[in-house]
């Protein structure tokens, strides 16, 4: 099978899964108790807003039902939902009174930035420690690192995040272990949020100095803040580098909380994978040739040991997005996870549908990319 055939086949396989996810979210949203028409009008449901042609009064509640077309049969509603989805109309949030697409567009970059950075930290860390652990098999380092790997997988993310806050973000007088490194209050890392609140000085509003319509990834956007906006900031903040550093510092603790479990599991996978490879014949050949142990492990063994690790990437992205629900709640990031929690708490099922769909799209696409990468690295996969 050629590579492009493989890609096309995988893309076609995505379609039934996506339809399945759509059916699924639709079903769950319709099982969730609560009448969206009643939620929208709140305590003004009885107010007469209009009259029919026969002179019958229409209450706000009935008007909402008509507007949301809730009297149609479920099959019709589902068909309309699918066609609307295809046209890019994901409905309007009952809670935020904004289109769901906008809500998701604001929230998704936050989660993605955090998850990707977390994996970006976790991967090198897990892989390097896994290599060392495998090379020093059954020595002290191996035992200790394996124990910590399991321990980090076992930690509840939200608790670990709060512990990080307690020790690294509260300062020594509150029981923390470090004091501010620069400028900020509290400990050496900011306690929550995406920015230092003093950055919003002197204009109210949150991230006003970031370019409107930017990517939403503030690590990127901070470099595109124009000079006249920087000039309005206090002089000690007024540089792109400091904005970037501020964003990075705010991301540090959430990413640590999110990435630590991935790093732990990666260490274990990498160790097992490398140990398997180290018993292969070609490694023995390489050793027999008189290559240095470093070269044998890094060049000959690791290249093959890393191949299975690629597949884990797909699952860790899903895990990171799931874990982001907890991390964002602790660190007050308004990402997808927080939106999901709020919408479920307030039974805003339009947003629940949107968020579930978009997370599954992200997950499926990243898995697709991982699979294609895998097929490129290891052509045997395509042959099946």
């Amino acid at each position: 099978m050629k590579l492009h055939e493989f890609v096309v086949r995988r893309l076609l396989l995505l379609i039934p899964v996506m339809i399945g996810v759509a059916i699924f979210t639709f079903a769950i949203a319709h099982i969730i108790p609560g009448d969206p028409a009643a939620i929208q009008c709140g305590d003004k449901c009885g107010v007469i807003v209009d009259f029919t042609e026969d002179g019958e009064p229409i209450s706000a509640y009935e008007a909402n039902r008509i507007r949301l077309k809730m009297d149609d049969s479920v099959t019709v509603q589902f068909w309309r939902y699918i066609t609307d989805l295809a046209e890019g109309d994901w409905g309007e949030s009952l809670l935020y009174h904004r289109p769901v697409v906008d809500v998701v567009k604001d929230a998704a970059p936050i989660t993605l930035e955090m998850s990707f950075l977390a994996l970006f930290i976790a991967y090198p860390l897990g892989i390097i420690l896994g290599i060392i652990s495998a090379v020093r098999q059954d020595r002290m380092f191996d035992h200790v690192s394996r124990f910590f790997a399991i321990a980090f997988v076992s930690l509840p993310i939200f608790w670990f995040a709060m512990m990080l806050q307690l020790f690294l973000a509260t300062g020594t007088e509150h029981g923390g272990i470090c004091d501010p490194i620069f400028g900020t209050e509290g400990g050496c890392f900011p306690i929550y949020g995406r920015h230092d609140p003093s950055y919003t000085y002197p204009v109210d509003g949150y991230a006003w100095y970031y370019p409107a319509g930017g990517t939403g990834f503030h690590l990127v956007d901070s470099w595109f803040v124009t000079d006249e906006k920087l000039a309005t900031l206090p002089s000690e903040w007024g540089s792109n580098w400091l904005l970037f550093k501020d964003t990075l510092f705010h991301l540090a603790l959430p990413c640590a909380a999110l990435g630590i479990a991935s790093a732990g599991s990666l260490l274990r996978y990498m160790r097992a994978s490398l140990l398997e490879v180290l018993h292969e014949d070609y490694v023995r050949t390489a050793r027999a040739k008189g290559l240095s142990e470093f070269r044998v492990v890094i060049v000959h063994a690791c290249r093959n040991a890393l191949i299975p690790i690629v597949t884990i990437l797909g699952f860790s992205i899903g895990g990171a997005i799931g874990g982001a629900v907890l991390t964002e709640t602790v660190f007050a990031f308004n990402g997808m996870g927080r939106v999901a929690v709020t919408s479920i708490q307030y039974l805003d099922f339009v947003v629940i549908m949107g968020v579930t769909l978009i997370t599954s799209v992200i997950f499926l696409l990243s898995n697709l990319i991982v699979d294609i990468t895998y097929a490129i690295i290891d052509p045997r996969v395509r042959l099946e």
């Binding site: 899964v17 399945g20 699924f24 769950i28 099982i31 512990m163 799931g322 709640t329 996870g337």
Partner: protein
């Protein structure tokens, strides 16, 4: 005339074989234990799991305070209003008690000698009672407006340290309002435990803002967490094994559809799916099934079992059943259309469901019934010829007559009949007297919802795992041999394939208990799990977020408890993996 001695040789032979198998499995176990013992981490894990389980079992003896327990509820609610005050771990304030004393001589409650009593407590029989406290010294005396009074206005009775004597000035002074608040240190003897050093008592972990003893709460929390973990892991294993083995054994279209359904589950992050599912189950207060289903299901089970039994006793070349089957197959399209018609009519607002099945009108029930019909539909489409072959009921009466062997009733005492009767008994013991419905779970409270959500999101992982195992074992020679002597799929599955595929399942089961505890506490942390003031570790952390800076111990101990429990199960699972899967052991 039967020859009763004829069976003796057989019995001896089977006994010998049984003994052999037992000793074999015994030596296998001891060998496994030897391998397991080698790993320090695995032993640590076993120790942790055993100690957490012991704490959970003996929670009533270890804990100092006890929750208010509604016997019909599945959870322990902590609604004792002990003293609404937070105390740090190991602080002496835990021996302090605040009590109101009426000082108005006209009040019916007034008395010059007041007994020092604890707050209301709830006993095992759900009745309120109060303990008598023996006072050591007074800490503070306040009038009802909160102003300090002189401590000498009150004194302890020299003969009985639990009696407080009011001085005449205290109630003679009319400028005072109706009562005073006294804070005193009492002898906390009854709360000391033999295994705790002197002075460490109810406050070993401190108390939370409601005055609940954190230590007792953490101890009771182990029950909730272990219960959730083990229930969910067991049920997901059962569901996943059934689905996965069907998928792996039959292959083809069945496999394709089941795996696509699993893909859908994998595509949505588990926690978000579980959250949505918990929210969806918000209004269900008790889990019931309609009576017709409750009656039909055991009958189907019975029919299926007796059918396989009949098939094994009677030669299987019946022309009638072949004809009937081909008839069904010929009108398969009509059958499909009929079921599809029912399905779509069900969704239409005009047609009412109660007319069809006598079930309630709610949206969730429509969805469940529709799901059931969908499953049926899918089964008909997918199961194909095989489905009809395995459930042909033709010529049943005659066969039943032939197959009854009254001379030896013991032959009916097989595992299958037992399973059928147990399932019947369970169904009817759970059934309440609520009209046309059978109650499966009476109080479908939030913990049950969490468990249902985690089962719902968890089974696809096991289905995939078991499918892989079955695909692997299926190709082995002994399965081929079993098939060639004419064993049926069910027998091959349960007797030949699954016993050889259980090893990774055991590992996944152990690891999954830990994972489930993590997810359940995460859900509780988000406010979607246990009810307020339940002794659930995730909820305790969530409730302590408000006192994050002031009393970090409130979140420290529950979090440590989660970490230790999950770590224990993970280490145990790793150790078991080393034993059962020699490839990873290096």
């Amino acid at each position: 005339m039967r020859d009763w001695d004829g069976g003796k040789g057989n019995r001896d032979e089977s006994l010998r074989r049984l003994r052999e198998a037992l000793s074999q499995s015994k030596s296998d176990l001891s060998r496994s234990w030897k391998i397991y013992r080698r790993s320090l981490l695995a032993m640590l894990g076993l120790f942790m799991v055993i100690s957490v389980s012991l704490v959970a079992i003996f929670a009533e003896d270890i804990a100092v305070e006890h929750p208010y327990r509604n016997l019909q509820d599945t959870e322990d609610k902590w609604s004792i209003d002990y003293e609404p005050r937070r105390a740090d771990p190991f602080s002496e304030e835990c021996d302090w008690h605040e009590q109101k004393i009426t000082t108005n001589p006209n009040s019916p409650l007034f008395s010059e000698i007041v007994v020092a009593e604890s707050d209301d407590k709830v006993g095992d029989d759900n009745r309120y009672y109060r303990d008598t406290l023996s006072v050591i010294q007074f800490i503070k005396l306040e009038d009802s407006l909160g102003y300090d009074l002189n401590l000498s206005l009150l004194s302890i009775d020299p003969s009985n340290s639990s009696l407080l004597v009011l001085s005449p000035e205290l109630y003679g002074n009319t400028s005072l309002y109706a009562g005073v608040w006294v804070t005193y240190e009492f002898d906390n003897e009854e709360m000391h435990h033999w295994w705790m050093p002197d002075g460490y008592d109810v406050c070993i972990f401190g108390t939370n803002d409601q005055g609940h003893d954190l230590f007792s709460k953490v101890v009771y929390g182990s029950r909730v967490s272990l219960k959730i973990g083990i229930t969910v892991a067991t049920l997901t294993v059962i569901i996943g094994t059934i689905v996965g083995s069907i998928s792996g054994y039959f292959g083809g279209r069945v496999d394709e559809v089941i795996m696509r359904i699993c893909d859908i589950f994998f595509a949505i992050p588990g926690l978000i799916l579980a959250m949505a599912f918990v929210a969806a189950m918000n209004q269900i207060t008790s889990l019931t099934i309609p009576l017709w289903l409750g009656i039909l299901f055991p009958i189907f089970v019975l029919a299926a079992f007796s059918n396989t039994y009949l098939n094994s006793t009677v030669p299987d070349d019946d022309q009638i059943s072949e004809q009937a089957m081909s008839l069904i197959m010929r009108y398969r399209g009509v059958l499909l259309a009929l079921v599809g018609f029912i399905f779509f009519v069900g969704w239409m607002p005009g047609a009412s469901w109660p007319d069809f099945f006598g079930i309630s009108e709610s949206r969730s029930w429509r969805a469940f019934a529709a799901l059931g019909i969908l499953t049926f539909l899918g089964a008909i489409i997918l199961a194909d010829r095989r489905f009809f072959l395995n459930t042909s009921f033709e010529g049943g009466l005659g066969r039943i007559k032939d197959s009854f062997d009254w001379t030896n009733p013991w032959r009916y005492l097989t595992f299958r009949t037992l399973a059928v009767f147990v399932s019947l008994a369970l169904l009817f013991s759970f059934s309440g007297s609520e009209g046309e419905e059978i109650v499966l779970i009476k109080d479908f409270d939030r913990l049950w919802k969490v468990q249902a959500a985690l089962i719902f999101t968890g089974w696809p992982g096991y289905a995939r795992l078991i499918r892989g195992q079955v695909l692997y074992v299926k190709e082995m020679t002994f399965v081929e041999a079993a098939r060639s002597v004419g064993a049926r799929p069910g027998r091959i599955m349960f007797r030949h394939i699954l016993p050889n595929a259980w090893a990774p399942l055991l590992v996944a089961f152990t690891l999954d208990i830990g994972g489930t505890i993590l997810s359940a506490s995460g859900l509780s942390f988000l406010g979607l799990g246990a009810d307020a003031y339940t002794a659930e570790w995730g909820l305790m952390i969530s409730e302590s977020r408000r006192y994050f800076l002031l009393s970090p111990h409130l979140m420290l101990y529950p979090g440590l408890a989660i970490a230790v429990t999950v770590l224990g199960f993970n280490l145990l699972g790793d150790g078991i993996r080393d034993v059962v899967d020699p490839k990873n052991r290096r």
